[in-house]
């Protein structure tokens, strides 16, 4: 396959960026998108050019490091997968592919396709935890958890914090991420003591970071590599109202 790649190149956070076009030959349909970028970078290095900076780690869709907007869709076309699980067989010989970094004010571009997602870490620090003294694991059946809650909590906990929800949202809202984190702890008995304080503090930090509000377009759910449901956003809205009005 021969592909034309339009890739966002930006030297650092303070420099203006621009698209640079590369033609890549010998693309194998079974390559992942990140392997395509690896192959391109090898050619760039051999030519003495600066390779394209992008993030990756596990390359099996569980770490949340990859963060590309491919042809206008975070993590590219197809459902329920990260950029590292997007294979070149989804494209046709001769295609032009536009690759951009995630765009959001709280996710500043550091270089080329790499953005700084530490805003998510600060949201987690604001409440995405339970305050228990660490020790040996408790006896398995000492705290009963209803099966339905356990499954919902696990669905929410599947969030890998990649930020595709923010990238896809027309408002650059982080609601799906925050909702997943608030719900996964809020559904379990261990998360109850801090349930309302958690939602209040995490939403306050989310706003402070400069993410937008939720317009209920559900674009986040459509691009989420873990297919986190917008049900959790409804749950967050519910918990938030109770938290600010009834739980001082």
């Amino acid at each position: 396959m021969r592909l034309t790649l339009r890739i966002w190149r930006q030297k650092d956070a303070n420099s203006p960026g621009q698209f640079v076009t590369y033609v890549k030959d010998h693309v194998v349909p079974d390559m992942s998108f990140l392997e395509l970028l690896d192959a391109l970078n090898r050619e760039l290095v051999e030519r003495g050019e600066e390779p394209v900076a992008f993030e990756s780690d596990c390359r099996e869709g569980i770490c949340g490091s990859c963060s590309l907007v491919i042809n206008g869709i975070p993590h590219g076309p197809g459902r329920g997968k990260a950029s590292c699980q997007l294979y070149m067989r989804h494209f046709r010989d001769g295609d032009t592919i536009t690759v951009e970094p995630f765009r959001a004010k709280p996710f500043p571009v550091l270089r080329d396709l790499i953005v700084d997602r530490s805003a998510f870490d600060r949201i987690m620090q604001a409440g995405g935890f339970i305050s228990v003294n660490a020790g040996s694991a408790p006896e398995a059946n000492s705290i009963p958890v209803p099966k339905q809650n356990q499954e919902l909590a696990m669905d929410a906990a599947a969030c890998i914090g990649c930020g595709a929800c923010v990238a896809a949202c027309k408002n650059a809202s982080a609601m799906l991420f925050v909702a997943a984190k608030v719900s996964h702890l809020g559904l379990l008995p261990q998360g109850q003591p801090e349930r309302y304080r958690r939602v209040r503090n995490m939403v306050a930090q989310m706003d402070k970071e400069g993410f937008g509000g939720c317009s209920n377009t559900f674009e986040c759910e459509a691009v989420c590599p873990k297919q986190i449901s917008v049900r959790f956003i409804a749950r967050l809205n519910r918990d938030y109202l109770r938290a600010v009005l009834l739980e001082p």
Binding site: A172, N216, A234, L245
Partner: protein, 231 residues
């Protein structure tokens, strides 16, 4: 942040304000349409209806104040949240291919501005009688304010009718996204009911659209006569 203050400051709180005020306004739009449709029952029915509202000043003014507050909160939350949303993405994508975001959802703010202007015009036309004072001062045989004549004479002018018909398009889109949306904002989302919830916006929107559009179209087609022969 706690208490009502949080509702006015946080993005989630602003959505609650927008949802609650939107629910009040959507309810009004539906009731208002039902009231309007009485024009098909003839002058006596709609003039008696208008007269009965005037005879209940407490109810009328309570409703007006609630609507005014809801309208104010809706506009306030829309402006504030749109500011925050735009600030959150200053650098737009070169290429953006939304997968599920509807046209209605993308144009809520612009549609809202058109509706705001329309509401001002509509109030000037039928509530304050500023645009057509000659239609506003008519009275029927029983001495009641002749709403029927005002509506029919107003809509006989093609440009007036056209402005109402055009304004119903953003109203349709606004209800399509808004009505389904407030369920989500109020925390009501369950796989068992989501089909109904997501259908409700378009259904309410289309009912209001066709109900309201039918009146100027019927007047222009001569289906709603004035003066009424034989009465």
């Amino acid at each position: 942040m706690t208490g009502l203050y949080a509702l006015f400051r946080s993005t989630v709180g602003l959505k609650w304000l927008m949802g609650v005020s939107g629910l009040v306004l959507s309810g009004f739009v539906v009731v208002h349409m039902l009231g309007n449709l009485q024009v098909y029952l003839g002058p006596d029915a709609i003039n008696a209806y208008a007269e009965s509202l005037r005879k209940m000043p407490v109810l009328l003014w309570t409703a007006r104040i609630v609507l005014l507050v809801a309208f104010g909160l809706h506009v306030f939350s829309a402006v504030r949240i749109t500011q925050l949303n735009r600030a959150a993405r200053q650098h737009q994508y070169e290429l953006w291919s939304p997968q599920v975001t509807t046209y209605a959802a993308r144009t809520m703010f612009m549609g809202g501005i058109i509706l705001f202007a329309f509401v001002l015009y509509h109030l000037a036309h039928f509530t304050f009688g500023l645009t057509h004072p000659e239609h506003f001062q008519l009275h029927d045989a029983k001495g009641r304010h002749d709403v029927y004549a005002m509506v029919v004479l107003g809509f006989r002018q093609p440009l007036v009718s056209l402005s109402y018909l055009v304004a119903m398009v953003p109203l349709l889109l606004h209800l399509q996204h808004g009505v389904s949306s407030f369920f989500q904002t109020f925390g009501l989302n369950h796989p068992r009911y989501n089909g109904i919830i997501r259908a409700l916006g378009p259904i309410v929107g289309l009912i209001v659209f066709f109900g309201n559009c039918s009146i100027p179209l019927a007047v222009l087609a001569g289906l709603i006569p004035y003066p009424v022969v034989g009465k």
